[in-house]
Symmetry: C3
Subunit: 272 residues, 3 copies
């Protein structure tokens, strides 16, 4: 047996040298297998705050942004201290994570932009800019957002054919307001399916389940960056919004599974 | 020899356990190796009609759509019975398949949307909504469209560097009219190459071959969702349109092959 | 040892037959491992000029474009001789390469279009159309551009998480002017990072380093085709522009490395 294991190791080493790839990270998915957190590493770039393999998300802080650059950025309000949260995969999870961060710090979300990304998947990535008066506040907000990603990716389900995303907050703040037009202080829910037709049926089921306000329905040619997602944004009473989100999730999981593979999340669900 | 085969199997098992991937399905391509049809499976979601691995296409029917959701959808005409055909890869093939479906049923195409998708490839996916008066009509239309995919993917050719798509119908109906602006009742042809420059030369060759009407030329920044496709849409006499499509295909296959690999289709060609 | 090597070869052959893939080409990257140039192959399509594995770039020339097609193309000026440079990955490198080509020939850039591509990566591909009076001039321009790709891809750095692109010319010509709004005859620099937040910090560092004119800052929702790139375009004194580009590169390499992997270029850097 020992000999066989040695042989296996030798073969594996040789194959890896020849370039065979093992899936060290699930780069195609809307999540990432593990929360490989590089926070507080010995970076020599002072702007760096932290990074996470989850969504390939990087957080930075510019303590005093160049005035000319600031004029060319598309921000809703000008600050000299700028925080940056940027990812290849996500949008929803990072926005929800940042919503907690702005509640906890003296900072404001001043820009949310939507690349069509997900590394070949069906969704977006995101670029979030925040402003503040004190670099330590802004760094702290970026850190809080990074720390929240393992929670807000809890209801992102992936399969080879597509993905689902569910989000819920009992009290929306500035990030959710700027990104999705949700009224601040009220409960907010996001129900998303990809390919986008799954999101249409999820939305229909969710809205029929409980009395909620429909903020908007986003689809490939309307309200997305040409992503292949159907997403309904809802607001209202906390219990009703939660119930609608859960109903949308149930039908979405069954429909996406029809495309060949059970969708799975990388983190535990937070919406119960 | 037996011992060697046993060793091979043991090695393969071990490598697969360590996460090595074998190409079970060609998820990157604009088609899919086989028509793995899940139709009539024992789904517990009543809206589900059918699904196909070809283009990762799913078909659904909402017998009585929520009135508030309907207000938020971008449909050309309001129906309470809504059919949904949604895919990660394609657009053209699903639209042509739906064109046959609306000819065969009492249904109408009320929305065509264009995600930038193809799972990392150069093209689109699609979201098609249809409306009808009777759920069984709408389910039947979605079923007809799914059944047509193995035909309409017949002239989709893929290589690692790009793809070609050719489509032809002797008589365009509502899906082709809504999606491409083709006059109903006349012959219609689609000639597409990716990367997009190949489509420019295919279009030039096709138009010079036969006297046809040029409806439009779509390119990355004009008339696509930033896909890397050059596509000419033509209309006119059936024989001339067919001849132009075939001429475009011939030059496209030669040009795409110059990027290193012979393009191949997953299904038999239907344009002869 | 000989026996072991034979065993290895047998195993490798068997695995490859079973479909295991070895990375023959880095199809996901913004470059391509080697400059596999198919120029002057025995193509039977007369429009074909050349192709390169670098960025999956193909060059063609239409000696006398169809008049109806010309009406449907989105060109700034009408020529009957049209050159086409089209790629899955790049944009910046092909535009810089074409900038040298138009300096060296009697041709003009008449269209630059931006697919959202990079084969699942974070950036664009490109479609460039040029016009001229003589097919041999136009073919020559396309050839010059293809020959320049191994230089202009010299400061494109890739990792699994994203990429960086740096470009510099001491004297901008028509391609850079049309694509980026750079004043002709002056030095021009491009500083780009993906995911896009990295580009924000690179831009801030670059502009603070030297006195340059900021032409624009492009981000996912402004001035890109929803790519996940942050890009500052600068102009001005040659020494200052070069210094700013180099400073942006330095901080970008450190930030992108924080997402898990050292970024690497496929060709030698040309900006020193």
């Amino acid at each position: 047996m020992m000999v066989q294991q040695q042989l296996m190791n030798r073969i594996l080493t040789e194959l890896l040298q020849q370039g065979m790839t093992l899936p060290a990270s699930s780069s195609q998915s809307s999540g990432g297998i593990m929360m490989d957190n590089f926070l507080n590493s010995t970076s020599v770039v002072p702007e760096f705050v932290g990074a996470s393999q989850t969504g390939d998300t990087i957080g930075m802080c510019i303590p005093s942004v160049d005035a000319i650059l600031l004029d060319h950025l598309h921000v809703s309000k000008k600050f000299t201290v700028i925080g940056v949260l940027s990812s290849r995969t996500g949008a929803g999870p990072q926005i929800m994570a940042m919503d907690e961060a702005v509640k906890a710090t003296n900072t404001e979300v001043i820009d949310v932009e939507w690349p069509r990304d997900t590394k070949g998947g069906a969704g977006h990535g995101v670029l979030i800019l925040i402003g503040g008066y004190d670099p330590s506040d802004v760094r702290s907000a970026i850190q809080v957002a990074l720390d929240n990603l393992s929670r807000t990716f809890g209801d992102v389900y992936n399969s080879a054919a597509g993905h689902l995303e569910l989000q819920f907050t009992a009290r929306a703040a500035g990030a959710v307001h700027m990104a999705f037009g949700a009224p601040e202080g009220k409960a907010y829910g996001l129900i998303c399916g990809a390919p986008s037709g799954i999101g249409v049926v999820m939305a229909d089921t969710a809205i029929k389940t409980a009395g909620v306000d429909v903020l908007s329905f986003a689809s490939p040619s309307h309200g997305t960056s040409f992503s292949n997602e159907g997403t309904v944004h809802i607001s209202g009473d906390s219990g009703a919004v939660r119930q609608a989100v859960i109903a949308g999730r149930e039908v979405g999981l069954k429909l996406l599974a029809q495309l060949g593979e059970k969708p799975v999340a990388d983190f535990p669900s937070y919406i119960r």
